[in-house]
Structure formats: structure tokens, C-alpha cells
């Protein structure tokens, strides 16, 4: 054991020696392996959810026919149940994502992060935080526009939920709503959040909030353009705006080795993905681009004057948008529910979807905890003078490649 002022005493002390460290690494890899293996086995047992839902629906139809239930009731059930499953998913996922972000941030900074709540590496930390937020006092500042102040979190959160309607969570149409213009719908609805942020900034009766709201509006409107244009090549190759259709367009292998995912398309795919990633981070107001809530300049930007559950709504919306951007990236660039090689087809498609999505979520978190914040004018310059021209060049390049193939 290492002696000296920095040596650790107590039952954990052996972890400080090289052998102890190696043992700890092996142990954590084993624990993670068992956990992930267990989840994988469980998912293989479950199989394709679309098949399950199909069976359940067939069973329901048969029962309805036997008992004389009207057809509209069945339609209502088939609409409400998938939507509530997706809604529940979006409300539960941020709990996990916040914990994951805390742990990754801590380990990037060579800390441990939450370790106490929930016994194992603080898994229940975010649930405790959520309970705390629910119990907190709801403060409305004097001079605030009470109605708009109350409506703003709702306007922020509602589009974040609606956006998930056409996202395919796996193969076989595993989406809440089948939509032919899914991509357009998602991009269009997610743009509505700007209004909520502006409302929050304006109604708070606080100069920092107004500045934050205006900054958020300027930033989100600007970055929406390169984001949309970066997705154009995908649509050009896929020939459809439906997310399921774009996912299915990435089926198969190139020369039997490389999966036909859009990120592996020469040059165009990589540029598209990079521009999409950068502008998605800007859209979600996360750190290299978080001038809208810059703590050191604007205290908290548009949500300075919010507390308790209203504040948590903004947080929920941020994480929902992060998951949405990651899901879009997974579907459009990483083949969504398709396994990379046909040999891995025994793993159901929703596992592939979530694995790819969480990989992109990890990219988001990794980038957030690596880079400092951009200055306001540099941020705008970067969008209009760099991302936008290059996304246009990218579209031209994609058109040229398509022309060459014909």
C-alpha cells in the first residue's frame, strides 16, 4: 500500500495499488458485461416488438369481434396505446440520460459522480432529484406576465413530445404514427420550441432572461438551416421523406463488408453527419453552443426565473430533444434498426436502434464536457459562414454522385 499523505486508508485501500486497479477494471468490465449480456438475452427472448404488438392487436380484434365491440373503440385503442408507450418512454429516458451524463462528466473530470443514492453508483440519483424538484416551491417573479410565464414550459415541452410520433423505434413500422413526411414533420415541429423559449425569456421580467430568450431564438433559427440542408443528401439518396423508408434504404452491404449506412457513403455521408451533429448540439442548446443559457454570462438565460417542476420541464425538453436528435442521427446515418451484418440479425431491431441512439447521445455528452462555450458572434459566424456554405456544397456533391451512378 502506498504510504504518505495522499494514501487512502480503509477497506477500499487495496484499489490504489496497480494490482488492485487491474482487479477493479476487470471487475467493472465483468459487471458491465453481465448487465449488458442480461439485457441482450432478455431482448432476444422478447423478440421483435412489432410482431408482439401485431399478435396482441390480432387477439384484441378477435375478442372485439366475439363480444361485439364497435370498430372505433379498437381504432382508438390502437392509436392510444402506442402513443402512450412512446410518451412514457420519453418521460423515463431523461431520468436515465441525466444520470449517464452526470457519470460521464464526472469520469471525464477524473471524479466519481453520484455514488450514494441507489447503492450502485448512484443509479437512483435522478429519481431523488426529480422528487426534490416536484416538492419545490413554484416561484413567479413580481412583474412577470403570469399567463405567458405559466404557458412557456408547456409550449417548450409539447413539441418535444409530438416530435417523437414518427420516429421508428425498430423495424416493421415500430412507430407511434406512420407518416410519409416524417422527417419534415420532426424538423418542423421541433422548430416550435423557439417560441416557448422566447415566451419564457420575455415573461420573466428579467434582463438576463430576455437576453437568453433572444439569443436562443437567433441561434436555433440559424442552426435549423444547415441542419435541414445537411439532411437533404440523405433524402436525395433515399428518395423518400418517411423515416421508416429512409431507414430501409440503408439495408444491405457494400461488397459484402461495409453496411450500406448513410455515414459510410463516401465524403457526402461524413460531411452530412458532422454538420447534422454540430447543428443538433446547437439546436439543443448544449455546451459548446449554450450561449442561450450561459451560466457565467446570463446566470441561466431563459429559465433563470423558473423553479421546481416548471424548471424541470425545460430540462426534460432539453433531454428529449437530445434523444430526438440522436434518434434522427441513428435512423438517418446509422441504419436505425438494421444490424450492421446479417449474422447479427438474431438481436431484435429495437436493440440496434437504442444502441446506435445511445452512442450518439454519448457523442453529445462527450462533446459537451470537452469544449468551452463559443462567443455569440463567433457562433453566428460559424453557422452562416462555415456550416451553411459547406452544407450547400455537400448537396451539390451528393447530386453529382447520384448523377455519376446513373
Amino acid at each position: 500500500m502506498v504510504q504518505g499523505p495522499w494514501a487512502v486508508t480503509g477497506p477500499w485501500a487495496p484499489n490504489q495499488t496497480p494490482e488492485g486497479l487491474r482487479r477493479r477494471y476487470v471487475r467493472s468490465i465483468l459487471v458491465l458485461g453481465v448487465l449488458l449480456g442480461g439485457l441482450l438475452g432478455l431482448s432476444v427472448l422478447i423478440g421483435e416488438p412489432s410482431v408482439l404488438f401485431g399478435k396482441a392487436f390480432a387477439f384484441l380484434t378477435a375478442q372485439a369481434a366475439r363480444h361485439g365491440v364497435p370498430a372505433w373503440a379498437l381504432t382508438a385503442v390502437s392509436l392510444v396505446v402506442p402513443c402512450s408507450i412512446v410518451l412514457g418512454l420519453i418521460q423515463v429516458l431523461p431520468i436515465f440520460m441525466v444520470w449517464w451524463e452526470m457519470k460521464i462528466a464526472a469520469h471525464i473530470q477524473v471524479r466519481l459522480g453520484p455514488m450514494q443514492v441507489g447503492k450502485w453508483h448512484g443509479v437512483l440519483q435522478t429519481i431523488a432529484d426529480g422528487i426534490k424538484l416536484l416538492l419545490k416551491e413554484d416561484i413567479v417573479p413580481t412583474g412577470a406576465d403570469r399567463i405567458i410565464h405559466f404557458l412557456a414550459p408547456i409550449v417548450v415541452v409539447a413539441p418535444a413530445y409530438i416530435c417523437f410520433a414518427p420516429i421508428p423505434f425498430g423495424m416493421g413500422g415500430l412507430a407511434a404514427v406512420q407518416m410519409d413526411v416524417g422527417l419534415l414533420f420532426v424538423l418542423g415541429i421541433s422548430g416550435l420550441t423557439v417560441i416557448g423559449l422566447l415566451m419564457a425569456g420575455w415573461s420573466s421580467n428579467n434582463k438576463y432572461s430576455v437576453l437568453g430568450g433572444l439569443r436562443a431564438a437567433a441561434q436555433m433559427v440559424s442552426y435549423e438551416i444547415p441542419r435541414l440542408i445537411a439532411l437533404l443528401p440523405v433524402v436525395m439518396w433515399g428518395g423518400t421523406l418517411s423515416l421508416g423508408g429512409l431507414m430501409d434504404a440503408q439495408q444491405g452491404l457494400w461488397r459484402g463488408v461495409l453496411p450500406r449506412w448513410f455515414i459510410f457513403y463516401p465524403v457526402v455521408g461524413q460531411i452530412s453527419f458532422l454538420i447534422f451533429l454540430i447543428s443538433s448540439i446547437a439546436e439543443t442548446n448544449r455546451t459548446p453552443f449554450d450561449i442561450a443559457e450561459a451560466e457565467s454570462e446570463l446566470t441561466s438565460g431563459f429559465h433563470t426565473e423558473y423553479s421546481g417542476m416548471k424548471w424541470a420541464m425545460f430540462f426534460l425538453a432539453e433531454y428529449a430533444y437530445m434523444f430526438l436528435a440522436a434518434a434522427l442521427g441513428a435512423v438517418l446515418f446509422f441504419g436505425g434498426g438494421w444490424a450492421p451484418w446479417p449474422a447479427l440479425n438474431f438481436i431484435p431491431s429495437f436493440v440496434w436502434f437504442f444502441a446506435k441512439t445511445f452512442f450518439i447521445v454519448f457523442l453529445f455528452i462527450w462533446i459537451r464536457w470537452s469544449y468551452p462555450r463559443l462567443r455569440v458572434d463567433r457562433l453566428m459566424e460559424f453557422c452562416w459562414k462555415f456550416l451553411l456554405p459547406w452544407s450547400l456544397v455537400n448537396v451539390a456533391l451528393a447530386g453529382f454522385l447520384i448523377l455519376m451512378r446513373q
Binding site: 504510504q3 486508508t9 477500499w12 469520469h107
Partner: protein
């Protein structure tokens, strides 16, 4: 051309930054989980003062040595033994600056007033800072905080013997003297 050079250089720098954070993510955390894990104290760590009324000869040396006037005691001359008997001994922990002058000046062997390796001492109000010892009851008197303090002392002793001072958790005298 210089445009592409700038873009490439910046992209390279950004990638390097990501690589550094990724490398740090997989290096072991340096966090010491305090209530469960504790750092080793330095050899001559000066923790809370402890006092032994049965050893004390009431010579007043520590009272005079104390630069912050935190120690006070009262003694009474015993006509039979021709010695001073200790009446009470008080240390005001609000004033103590943990300088070890009282321990250095103490003439008894072993030292009757000395620093422990206890650093988790805490009080809940100002009166409790003033700890009092009496010969008939060798533990701090005056309030139930005395018992709390004793609990802390036992926790401090659980830190284990200091390997460099031969098993004694209270170094008897500085190495220089």
C-alpha cells in the same frame, strides 16, 4: 489553400481535445469517498486537544504558553502532599489555533495535554466549544457534548496507529527536542 489549412488544423485540435477527455474518462478517479475512505494523516498532524487530569501537575506552563489564551485551569494547594491539586481545566476550542505550544511545554511524561489525530470534532453551539475536565471525572464535563466528543475521539483512534511513530497515535514530543 490557407483556408483548408485552417479548417484542417482546427479540426485536428478539436479531435485532440476529444481524445484527451476520452483518455481521462478511462483513467481511475482520484476521488476519496470521505466517510468511507480516509486519507492518511501526516506524522505530526495536530488534531483536537486531549487532556489527562490524573497526570497533570497544575504547573500552569500550558496556560502561559498558549498564544490564543484558550487554556485555563485552577488548582488548590494540598497541605498534606505539599502539591497543587487540579480543580478544573478548560480548553476553549473556539480559540485554540492548534499550534502544539502547550504540548511542547508540558513537563509531565507522558504529556498531560496533547494533540490527538481527531479532525472530525464538531459543536452545535458556542457554549459547547468550552470543554471542561475535572480530576474526579477525567472526561470533558458540562454537557452531553462531552460524550459526543468522546465518540469522535474513538473514531479518531479507529484511524489506526501511525506507522511512522511506532504505533503511538499521539506523538509524545517533536523530533527536534
Amino acid at each position: 489553400m490557407s483556408y483548408f489549412k485552417t479548417v484542417g488544423g482546427n479540426a485536428w485540435a478539436l479531435g485532440k481535445g476529444l481524445w484527451i477527455t476520452l483518455r481521462h474518462m478511462f483513467s481511475p478517479a482520484i476521488t476519496v469517498q470521505y466517510p468511507h475512505e480516509k486519507l492518511n494523516l501526516s506524522d505530526r498532524f495536530r488534531g483536537a486537544l486531549a487532556f489527562h487530569p490524573d497526570i497533570c501537575i497544575s504547573c500552569d506552563m500550558c496556560v502561559r504558553a498558549c498564544p490564543s489564551l484558550c487554556i485555563s485551569l485552577e488548582s488548590k494547594r494540598n497541605e498534606e502532599t505539599k502539591r497543587k491539586d487540579l480543580q478544573w481545566y478548560k480548553i476553549d476550542f473556539a480559540k485554540c489555533n492548534y499550534c502544539r505550544l502547550c504540548e511542547e511545554i508540558c513537563p509531565t511524561k507522558p504529556k498531560s495535554v496533547h494533540h490527538t489525530r481527531e479532525y472530525e470534532l464538531s459543536f452545535t453551539n458556542r457554549k459547547e466549544f468550552l470543554q471542561e475536565w475535572r480530576p474526579e471525572a477525567p472526561q470533558p464535563q458540562g454537557s452531553d457534548v462531552g460524550q459526543i466528543w468522546n465518540r469522535f475521539v474513538t473514531v479518531g483512534q479507529k484511524l489506526g496507529p501511525n506507522p511512522k511513530t511506532n504505533g503511538s497515535s499521539t506523538p509524545s514530543a517533536p523530533a527536534a527536542s
